[in-house]
Amino acid sequence: MGYDLPPQLEELRGFLPELVAEAEKKAPYASVLVTQSAGETVSKSPADERTNPVPPRPGIRISAWDGMTFFSASTSRINDRDYLIRLTRDLVQSIVVKQGPMPDPGDELDRHFRSEFKEDPAKVTAPERQAICRHAFEKLAAFDARIVAPRAVYVYEREYRLFGNRTRLLSSDISNVGLYLVPVASDGRKQAMNFKGSLAPGHEAAHITDETIRETAELAVQYLSADKIPAGEYRVILDPDIAGTLAHESFGHGCEVDALMRGAARASLYIGKRVGSDLVNIVDFGGLPGRHGSIFFSDDGVLATEPAVLVKDGFLQPTLMTDLYSYLHMRDRLPGLRLSANGRLETYNHPIYARMTNTYFLPLEKEKGGKTREELIADSGDAVLIEQLTSGMEDPLGWGVQLQALRGREIKAGRLTGKLYYQVGLTGYVPDVLSSIDGITNELDVSSGGTCGKGHKEYARVSSGGPYVRCRMKLG
């Protein structure tokens, strides 16, 4: 049966059960994961244009459970079946089975999944991608002489995954396309950079209008005369990406069960308790179609069919994010815990941890008080609208949160004044911030994309978003 996978993965798919069976001659549970990439990147800056394939970096990871510990072997040599059998035998030869929780391999299932897109990015040629980057580059450069270094990047990534255990044989073909515009403006004294990304599973992401390119360049120029925001506590309206990142950094990382089980998340003391205002509803859902953090199944073989509900109506839920290891050790210790599709790894030779996928605040329906963006601004008196995330950092035990945004827009008496602040740092104590949420819009926007580390490593692609969220935070 053909799955339109790269040939070596197509061949390897049917071999996974043999490897699992070999490992399970000694181990009570084993699974195999295979990863490989494909695609192309084109970038254009003043002195440099590049067109490069996304390297395949194939790898296989065989994991065996002894009742308490996962023992894994991983290698890039996915083509050599004899070697893989030997590696599996070496892996399990010294395993001594212990009394401990046993994984449920799940119902029998043999399925292949594929991203849905409007325009197949594999059919787009390198010259077409180059033309898009050159056009965006030239439009950015032509906007104003102060745009000294425009940059346009087209990224097309294909991510293939195979998973097998004794009952499951899964494969996926996930496509992500991004077109990124990065104009740098200078007045000879000061420099400022703007950023605009458009993401989708297919080539449709690349259809950015000239008007959008112009606005992106114009903001970079405006930043040159923008002020730094005076430090202090403000009423803020966070754009969907920043709001989602607040969710991600507060009760995203704080609800990864492997953080709870090592005592590094204060959330474990608050399950079932209030952690935010009634308006706070946070979920993580890898199955949300076509987002940058979307997956079809986790790296330990759990189908991404339902969201992990983290906070509901302001109360922390027990349905947190698990990888298989943390679930096995915590299921009897945390009533209500479920095995979720959050076990993910950076590359085949890294550990699997509980990781986020698409994390977002749920919007508030209009009937329940959800507003439009304009209504929320009009209702806010004096505030600052915070836009364009650059980074975030978590502190699940101390419940601190740090966000960085490119700009803030002043709101006075419910109206945008046109005054712009460039580069705004946001911080706060998570319960105070979430308790202060008193306004939410009624539309869901999960269109951002980036990578998330566990601390400062183990990067995985994620998305965040939701509605616009109004709260109080310290800015500087």
Partner: protein, 471 residues
């Protein structure tokens, strides 16, 4: 894969491509890296919550043990082409998945095709007669060990660390990850470079949790070293425990405008090339594209009056066993360069391409390749002098220190700081440290005492004259 076979096929195919496909190859380079990695992850305790308190149950079993033998071969191709009467150049790189001749030829042709569509100004592709430095990169103690013996060595290290932590009052190690990689790299290029060398990396992530009654805090140490023996379990625990206790006992941040002292990890974050804007402004690409503030011999702090020490800062990849040391980078010999000399811009980080574009090669300069360790010579001040007199705000660590690469502005959350006054230290956490990296250079004082920390070799303590803390 058979590297000699790959080299032979690539060399032959590269010669034939101009005639076969009309593609003009300006050069190629092959890199093979064989990696043997061992990872051990331990969760010494499993925590649950009961009646608002954490309960810990000992867990003697590792979370995961990973062995990872792998091999990657990469091919880089430089291509030339003409259009509208001008000569252009490009380059492309990909991973070779087999040593099958047809597959390799197809990959080579695809890379040449990609390289020959890039409208970049021509540049040289190799440093003729390059001599590569001898740099100690490998831990000879572990390089030749069998997998089982290496695993045993890693296990002993982690046992020693947990043993050391068991004596710390109020502090537990909640997670311990040890990553050991042994690498052997072989390089061959069309210009005749043939190089083979070994290297090791030993990295750890140690999470310390401190508890004092209802106060609880975590601190994560992430040491990197070339040699496992450079990760000292006792020293790691001592520093980690002090830090975790400080965070657990910390109060709210002060509002402050004035001098701030950065010490230890905070000094590392502020100075290290990875986090501050200098590597961007001193990069050949940024200078050539006129995005940079770089101007050789001009003060990096602009026209502000100098009120403190002048900073000299090196990118040095030649430090023996340095975490960021290297023999080569992008097929160029590694070289130590000064980015700042007495507070002024000096040399440029870059490869052959931008050194050529900027006319530096023609002036006899040798390209630097990528950045190495950050080396800052010691300053004239004793640490005690920087910490007094009067009320002083000290920052020991950040949550995630970052500067904007273009402006140098930063607003970073303080993970642990202290207010020193009248002989007492009052720890605090939170609040944003706000300032500008370049402006800070105009009023900075460096300690005489130095520290070697994760690729930073420089003053252990620095005092910056005018920063803001927004509490």
């Amino acid at each position: 894969m058979d590297f000699n076979k790959i080299k032979s096929i690539v060399a032959g195919a590269a010669m034939a491509l101009p005639a076969e496909r009309g593609l003009d190859i300006a050069g190629w380079a092959l890199r093979r890296t064989e990696t043997d990695a061992t990872t051990v992850i331990r969760l010494p305790g499993i925590y649950t919550a009961k009646e608002g308190k954490f309960l810990r149950q000992p867990n003697p079993h590792p979370r995961e043990v990973i062995m990872s033998p792998s091999e990657e071969v990469w091919l880089k191709v430089y291509g030339r082409h003409k259009a509208d009467g001008s000569e252009y150049m490009g380059e492309a790189i990909d991973q070779l998945l087999s040593d099958d001749e047809a597959t390799m030829k197809a990959t080579l042709a695809a890379l040449a095709q990609a390289a020959c569509t890039q409208p970049n100004k021509p540049y040289p592709v190799s440093a003729a007669g390059a001599e590569f430095p001898r740099v100690e990169l490998a831990d000879h103690e572990i390089h030749e060990l069998s997998y089982g013996a290496l695993l045993g060595r890693v296990q002993r290290f982690s046992d020693a660390l947990l043993e050391a932590a068991s004596g710390e009052f109020g502090v537990e190690v909640s997670n311990l990850e040890v990553f050991v990689r042994r690498l052997r790299t072989r390089i061959e290029t069309s210009s005749g470079i043939a190089l083979e060398y070994g290297a090791t990396h030993t990295d750890a992530e140690v999470c310390f949790i401190a508890r004092f009654g209802d106060r609880v805090a975590e601190h994560t140490a992430r040491p990197h070293a070339r040699r496992l023996r450079d990760l000292d379990p006792q020293a790691l625990v001592l520093m980690g425990a002090v830090h975790a206790r400080g965070i657990a006992q910390a109060g709210p941040p002060p509002q402050h405008i004035g001098p701030v002292v950065l010490t230890g990890a905070a000094a590392h974050d502020f100075m290290k090339l990875d986090y501050q804007p200098l590597s961007w402004h001193c990069s050949g690409k940024a200078v050539y594209e006129k995005m940079s503030r770089y101007e050789k011999g001009r003060p990096a702090y602009g026209d502000k009056p100098l009120a403190g020490d002048t900073v000299t800062l090196f990118s040095d990849p030649l430090v023996p066993f340095g975490p960021d040391s290297r023999i080569e980078g992008d097929f160029l010999p590694a070289r130590r360069i000064s980015l700042l000399k007495d507070g002024c811009y000096d040399e440029i980080l870059g490869g052959l391409r931008y050194y050529h574009y900027l006319g530096l090669l023609e002036q006899g300069a040798k390209p630097s390749g990528p950045a190495g360790n950050t080396v800052v010579p010691a300053g004239p001040h004793r640490t005690a002098e920087l910490l007094g007199p009067g009320r002083v705000i000290v920052v020991r660590s950040f949550s995630d220190f970052r500067t904007d690469p273009t402006s140098g502005d930063f607003a970073s959350e303080i993970r642990l700081g202290e207010i020193r006054e009248d002989g007492s230290d009052k720890p605090f956490r939170g609040g944003l440290l706000i300032g500008n990296w370049f402006d800070a250079l105009a009023d900075i004082r460096l300690s005489r005492e130095t520290v070697a920390l994760d690729g930073y070799y420089g003053p252990a303590t620095i005092r910056i004259g005018n920063l803001q803390i927004a509490g």
